[in-house]
């Protein structure tokens, strides 16, 4: 298929663009296969380059012969285009509609994008599982890298290499895979160097209504316990939901079969409810006419903050079991690809200072989200504005980022990255020129390294890193325990109010902060060099 077939009108002159908090621009609108471009053709005015993939929905209205298209983006921005001419407007609208909802992955922009920057370090090779494992090997020999899934036949959503207990052989793993949802047998997620405790993740056990058991599964997870120690199984679902799952072949680990494990149920919601929550929250944020009562009740009704609290609490609990109770933890929900990953990745942010660095956080996203098989393509196909019926969309990753932001707010000096980095990841997870977040699993991402550019290749260049670095950062090797009290959890303005209120004063405050710190560094350098010079002068003077 050619894009040209979809583009009925490639160019319209005299189009007026309205954007939040920016002057209106009049210029020429151009449609390409992947972009909607508006240019005034004046050097001074900024051009709009909008990826079709970023468009969540469009609405058209007519005022006489003037057509008006309201474009709602996945990054939650709303822009408006005034197009002279009814036919042009209709054509543009239907073309954009078609181009922004293409289903075929191979037509996505990342396959066409050629980087205009010099790649210093190829992001596709930055976070290989074997490299991460080398680190672990230097501390413990209790774990091995298994190739049992090298052709994705045991578990389609797992990567080819996974870390498992050393004494569990591949045959056992294959048997366990048949007992776990989606073949997701328990694998190592995190090793706590401080006390050797581990966090594992898996899919739910397929116990069904008749209480099926799997000796190999019990053997596998017991192999991670020290003699005489008990572990915790954190089931991200409520006990009721977990019970109901039995009817569909799923279930949970019974006390009888797993006597060394204590099971804890939490209440992280499933994807369709989360998507609804996002839609309600964004709707509440976008209606400026609300009274205070209405705003607070809509904020409450969206349940967004409730989900944030629940996810963060569960992650804290997992971290607490590991660090404070000195116990190993197994985390799962139903599939083990959503709430499970939120919990395991957030727990690592809390426990492991490395995950709070820019590179470390990228590694975490690679390990715990991309390689761990979070279905990004399904989850991020639509955002808050889409009119189509939601399929498997859910802001699972956005929730995770929100929780990281909450933690960053509470420990503003302990993260190497700033809020802008988290916002950037949100944007790229939903629409990007890079291939990083394409596909739903490692298997689907196999060919991407050759055909697309990695987001990390772009981010890990000095000029980008500078923008994303937290000037307040000072390495903090400690465990950080965030507060999960409702008063401590705020609405993430940087995402949800970004286009609704001017951030000028807050941006100025950030710049002022950077300025204070930069000036201090500059003076320090001056004093040091002067002192060195003085030293030399004196030495010269003495001899």
């Amino acid at each position: 298929m050619e894009f040209a077939e979809l583009i009925k009108t490639p160019r319209v002159d005299g189009v007026v663009l309205h954007r939040p908090f920016m002057p209106t621009v009049e210029g020429t609108l151009c449609l390409t296969g992947h972009h909607l471009i508006l240019s005034s053709r004046q050097d001074s005015a900024e051009e709009l380059w909008l990826l079709h993939a970023n468009i969540d929905s469009i609405e058209k209205r007519f005022v006489g012969s003037l057509g008006r298209i309201v474009v709602k983006c996945k990054d939650l921005r709303i822009i408006q285009l005034d197009i002279p001419g009814m036919e042009e407007c209709l054509n543009i609208a239907s073309s954009v509609e078609a181009l922004s909802t293409l289903d075929s992955v191979s037509l996505m922009y990342p396959f066409f994008y050629r980087p205009m920057f010099e790649v210093i370090e190829d992001g596709w090779n930055s976070f290989l599982p074997q490299d991460a494992f080398k680190d672990l090997e230097s501390i413990t020999d209790e774990w091995r890298l298994s190739e049992v899934n090298k052709d994705f036949s045991v578990c389609s959503s797992y990567p080819p290499l996974v870390a498992v207990p050393k004494h569990i052989d591949d045959d056992t793993l294959k048997k366990v895979a048949t007992f776990r949802h989606g073949g997701r047998f328990p694998v190592l997620s995190y090793y706590h160097k401080k006390n050797g405790m581990v966090m594992m993740r898996a899919g739910q056990p397929l116990t069904g209504t008749n209480g099926r058991r799997c000796k190999e599964d019990e053997k596998l997870i017991n192999a991670t316990l020290r003699a005489g120690k008990r572990g915790y199984i954190i089931d991200t679902r409520t006990i009721n939901v977990a019970q109901q799952a039995k009817a569909r072949g799923g279930g949970f680990e019974s006390e009888g079969n797993y006597p060394q494990w204590r099971r804890i149920h939490k209440a992280i919601e499933r994807s369709n409810i989360l998507q609804e929550s996002l839609i309600k929250l964004v709707e509440a944020c976008n209606d400026q006419s609300h009274s205070m009562d209405r705003w607070l009740s809509k904020l409450e009704a969206s349940n967004w903050q409730t989900h944030i609290k629940e996810i963060l609490t569960t992650a804290c609990l997992a971290a607490q079991c590991i660090d404070r109770s000195g116990a190993s933890v197994l985390v799962h929900g139903t599939e083990g690809t959503d709430s499970t990953l939120q919990v395991t990745s957030l727990a690592q942010i809390i426990l492991d200072p490395t995950c709070r660095t820019i590179k470390g956080f990228q590694g975490l996203v690679e390990r715990e989200w991309l390689q761990a098989g979070h279905p990004f393509q399904q989850r991020c196909a639509q955002s808050a504005y889409s009119n189509s019926k939601p399929r498997q969309e859910a802001p699972v990753f956005l929730h995770f980022l929100d929780c990281v932001w909450q933690t960053l707010r509470q420990f503003p000096c302990s993260f190497e990255f700033n809020e802008a980095f988290l916002v950037l990841l949100f944007e790229h997870a939903y629409a990007s020129q890079f291939g990083t977040f394409l596909g739903n699993s490692a298997a689907e991402r196999l060919s991407l390294a050759e055909k697309t550019v990695s987001l990390w290749s772009w981010v890990n260049r000095p000029q980008e890193l500078e923008r994303l670095t937290n000037p307040l950062y000072e390495a903090n090797s400690l465990v950080i325990w965030p507060s999960v009290a409702p008063q401590s959890l705020l609405l993430w303005e940087g995402v949800f109010l970004r286009w609704n209120r001017s951030s000028r004063c807050l941006d100025e405050a950030y710049d002022e902060m950077v300025h204070i710190i930069e000036y201090n560094k500059e003076l320090q350098n001056k004093v040091n060099s002067l002192r060195r010079q003085l030293h030399e002068d004196q030495v010269e003077f003495c001899f």
């Binding site: 804890i264 400026q288 609300h290 009274s291 205070m292 009562d293 607070l296 009740s297 904020l299 409450e300 349940n303 903050q305 409730t306 944030i308 804290c316 609990l317 607490q320 707010r409 509470q410 420990f411 503003p412 000096c413 302990s414 307040l472 903090n476 090797s477 400690l478 950080i480 325990w481 507060s483 999960v484 009290a485 409702p486 008063q487 401590s488 609405l491 609704n500 209120r501 001017s502 004063c505 100025e508 405050a509 002022e512 902060m513 204070i516 710190i517 000036y519 201090n520 003076l523 001056k526 004093v527 040091n528 002067l530 002192r531 060195r532 010079q533 003085l534 030293h535 002068d537 003495c542």
Partner: protein
């Protein structure tokens, strides 16, 4: 002293609200001014001091097997739950505290017994620090349009007004007196703020006694005089801050509001701010919310909504914005009133001043503003803040709301305010603490009668002396957002819950690292570096000269370095309570005296504090309430909300 039935109780437990497992055992002492809880079972001596005048209520709860619980709620929103082993002891403590926290006469107030180590001469000067006349001359007054009137010199015209007031030049004494007779409690229209740039002014008063049809020539002339004092404007606004219904109801009682037809060229406007009773109940709901043990997010948001608190804050800010825009953008004068003109009127006038004038956004300026629109114009602090045992219906958090409006603005304009949140919270505490004489009584007249200027100390001077604690590191006087009229957004989502005030003592809830403290430490360091740089440059210059003169006076060289060694600066680095680990200058060995080795260890790492969540964000105030030093290296349980 006669009110203390029991000076000392042993084996008292101070219960932790969040995790009951972490309660502390110790001795509770009752003194004339404070309750002091001294923890006994730890090596570390930990004390919790609670000023009696800050105690808002004492509640005895049902006795349990482990003791008799006593709940002490404070006006600074600290809540303490003691458990006293024997019921009779508990009852004695209860009765004592009940009495001690509700003094029956002014003389019992803490400010009359508070005697810091300050000589009399200095104390007197401290009161002179606050000079409202200087503030009026800063505005350019008196001038040809506004004059200082001595009509209320002996508080005869209005007993709740200050002695010195500014009125329009053309307002003759009979007009002022006539107008005062037509206004509730004689509170005639007087000047609150004057804009030098465009002559527009904010005036304030109480409601007119208009009833259904009454008129008053002098009052009408008074308003006309105000209008004439703004030569460029042909009308003025009259802002009634009450909801229209309340104002109409007042007409039946012979009070009411201005009828547009009776006054020339006024535009009348209601603002819809609720009365003191609504505000009191609203804050009560907020406090109940804060006392909930681990509320869910829905509990919290629903509670916040049903309290209506943020709605009221928004209403006050909206009214302030209306007035500030009338002054700055339209150049139109405004007369503001409510019923008596000492609650809502004070709020709205002072919020408008903060929005209008950069000066009121400085440390000094905010103090002046509170002195002007609240203290001098007779906000009834003793009634509203429950300083003395009195009518509970007179109590209302009106000044809290003003301070919160300022805080909400600081959140929107982080570079525009010279002071920080701590400043607001400290002022809040002292309004209630009665430690200083500033807020004692209900009017200037009462304070004169009580001779607070002779017998007590002034808060303003104390704050000024400690201003280093209250500086906002991001403040830049020359910044674009600092200058001129502030134009805040009042979309509902711009209002936040002020946990810094309401959950001030729930330390686990606050950010564990303070950006502000970090920046302040950096700024201090920067200042030291600037000094070092200057002195190094001097040394360098000297060395160059010496080198040129004679090679055999080299001994002098080492003397010189002795004088200028950076050891002092290094010492300075390490002794400062910088929240970041200090960095030693990279080649300091040359200058370091031999005994400075130990200081080079970064001893003030804040590591364990972060983990335990006890980064010290407390107010450095002389109030002893923050004296609980419950620092442990392992404070996780302290904020362990993650329940199994």
């Amino acid at each position: 002293m006669e009110h203390i039935r029991l000076p000392k109780v042993e084996n008292v437990r101070l219960l932790d609200k969040v995790s009951p497992g972490r309660s502390r055992v110790g001795i509770l002492y009752l003194t004339a001014t404070h309750s002091i809880f001294v923890e006994s079972d730890t090596g570390l001596r930990s004390e919790t001091w609670v000023l009696h005048s800050l105690v808002c209520s004492v509640e005895k709860q049902t006795t349990t097997s482990s003791g008799c619980p006593l709940l002490v709620r404070c006006k600074n929103f600290q809540v303490l739950l003691f458990s006293i082993p024997r019921e009779p002891d508990c009852h004695d403590v209860y009765l004592s505290l009940q009495r001690l926290s509700h003094p029956e006469g002014f003389v019992e107030l803490y400010c009359f017994s508070y005697k810091p180590n300050i000589v009399e001469e200095e104390r007197r000067q401290d009161w002179a620090f606050m000079d409202l006349k200087a503030n009026y001359s800063r505005m350019g007054l008196p001038n040809s349009l506004w004059k200082l009137s001595s009509i209320n010199q002996h508080y005869k015209v209005s007993s709740s007004y200050p002695a010195d007031l500014f009125v329009p030049e053309s307002a003759t004494p009979p007009v002022v007196v006539g107008s005062s007779k037509f206004r509730s409690r004689g509170r005639f229209p007087a000047l609150s703020y004057y804009s030098k740039e465009n002559h527009a002014a904010i005036c304030r008063s109480s409601q007119p006694l208009s009833g259904f049809s009454a008129r008053c020539m002098e009052d009408e002339q008074m308003l006309e005089a105000i209008l004439r004092s703004n030569p460029r404007s042909d009308f003025m606004y009259v802002v009634d801050t009450r909801p229209k219904l309340n104002a109409i109801a007042n007409r039946a009682a012979g009070k009411g509001y201005e009828i547009e037809d009776n006054y020339s060229n006024i535009k009348f406007q209601f603002m819809g701010i609720e009365n003191i009773h609504v505000m009191r109940n609203s804050q009560q709901k907020v406090l109940e919310l804060c006392e909930l043990r681990s509320p869910s997010m829905s509990d919290f948001l629903e509670g916040l909504e049903s309290s209506g608190w943020l709605k009221h804050i928004k209403a006050i800010l909206d009214a302030g914005i209306f007035i500030s825009k009338a002054i700055a953008e339209e150049g139109v004068s405004v007369l503001v009133h409510c019923s008596d003109g000492w609650d809502r009127t004070a709020q709205v006038c002072s919020v408008a001043c903060v929005l209008l004038d950069q000066f009121y956004r400085t440390l000094k300026g905010l103090m002046v503003l509170i002195e002007k629109d609240w203290v001098s114009f007779g906000h009834k602090f003793s009634h509203r803040c429950d300083h003395l045992a009195g009518d509970p219906k007179e109590v209302s958090p009106i000044i809290d709301q003003f301070l919160e409006c300022v805080w909400q603005l600081m959140e929107q304009f982080p570079c525009a305010f010279e002071f920080n949140e701590r400043f607001l919270i400290t002022i809040h505490s002292h309004i209630y603490s009665c430690q200083f004489g500033n807020f004692i009584g209900n009017s200037q007249r009462e304070r004169r009668e009580l001779r607070v200027g002779e017998r007590t100390h002034s808060l303003w001077r104390y704050l000024w002396t400690n201003c280093a604690d209250f500086i906002n590191p991001l403040y830049r006087p020359d910044h674009s957002q600092t200058q001129g009229l502030l134009r805040p957004s009042t979309a509902p989502y711009c209002f936040k819950f002020w946990k810094g005030l309401y959950n001030r003592f729930d330390r686990g809830m606050h950010p564990r690292q303070s950006v502000e403290d970090y920046l302040r430490a950096i700024q201090e360091e920067t200042q030291q570096l600037e000094e070092q740089l200057a002195s190094h440059k001097q040394v360098q210059l000297l060395l160059v000269i010496i080198l040129q003169i004679s090679p055999d006076v080299w001994a002098l060289g080492s003397d010189l370095t002795g004088v200028n060694t950076p050891q002092d600066y290094i010492g300075g680095f390490f002794s400062s309570s910088s929240p970041r680990t200090p960095k030693a200058p990279d080649d300091s060995s040359f200058f370091q005296p031999p005994d400075s080795k130990q200081t080079a260890n970064p001893v003030c790492s804040n590591g364990s504090d972060q983990e335990s969540g006890i980064a010290d964000l407390s107010c450095h105030s002389p109030l002893s309430e923050d004296n609980s030093r419950n620092q442990t290296s392992d404070g996780l349980d302290h904020n362990m909300p993650y329940r199994l």
